[in-house]
């Protein structure tokens, strides 16, 4: 039973590490601002869930698990909100969504 929980948390942590890496790669390599934001924001939420739940399984029933739950709740509340605010203010300031690679819009 104990080793089953260990294996499960290792799987979750490895998947979370993979998601983190894919998100960083996408944010660096994709051609245009909105596609970069797509890669970064989605994998942020998914990796937070996977890594924090994986650590929570290792922590067991303790104060640390409650703190991890609070961190997860805050990340899940604030991550999508920050992404929405970022996309909204980029759109309002005239950065057009499209499928072309972006020309340098320095402002």
């Amino acid at each position: 039973m104990d080793s089953a929980i260990d294996v499960l948390s290792w799987i979750l942590l490895a998947l979370g590490g993979g998601f983190v890496f894919v998100g960083g790669l996408g944010a660096l390599r994709l051609p245009n601002f909105y596609t970069r934001m797509h890669a970064a924001s989605l994998t942020d939420s998914m990796a937070s869930i996977l890594i924090l739940v994986g650590i929570m399984l290792q922590a067991g029933w303790s104060l640390a698990a409650i703190k991890l739950l609070a961190i997860l709740a805050f990340l899940l509340l604030t991550g999508p909100t920050a992404s929405y605010a970022l996309a909204n203010s980029a759109l309002l300031s005239g950065l057009k969504p499209g499928n072309s690679a972006d020309e340098s819009t320095e402002n």
Binding site: G24, L28, R36, L68
Partner: protein
């Protein structure tokens, strides 16, 4: 196992910093900084268990909150600046 995850998070933080340096627009930089902050929170939680010091979880909690407020403040600044510039352009022409 914690080592592998923390190394993956550190590599991703380096990639996010590269994106923040490359730009090209301001919003790319804000996106990279936001991502960097989230990854810092995750890294602090992993390090708390890697070294067996649960105090670090309080730091992670604080960092998650401060990062969100900071990103919103920066976005508010750039948004009002771009609106002001657009108004100036209309008035000046």
């Amino acid at each position: 196992m914690y080592y592998i995850v923390s190394i993956a998070i550190l590599i991703t933080m380096a990639l996010a910093l590269t994106r923040a340096l490359l730009g090209p627009s301001v919003y790319d930089r804000v996106l990279a900084v936001n991502m960097f902050g989230t990854k810092t929170t995750l890294l602090l939680s992993v390090i708390a268990f890697l070294y067996g010091r649960p105090d670090f979880l309080d730091l992670a909690l604080t960092y998650a909150l401060i990062n969100f407020i900071g990103v919103l403040a920066v976005l508010e600044f750039f948004q009002s600046r771009s609106i002001r510039r657009a108004n100036n352009r209309v008035d000046g022409s």
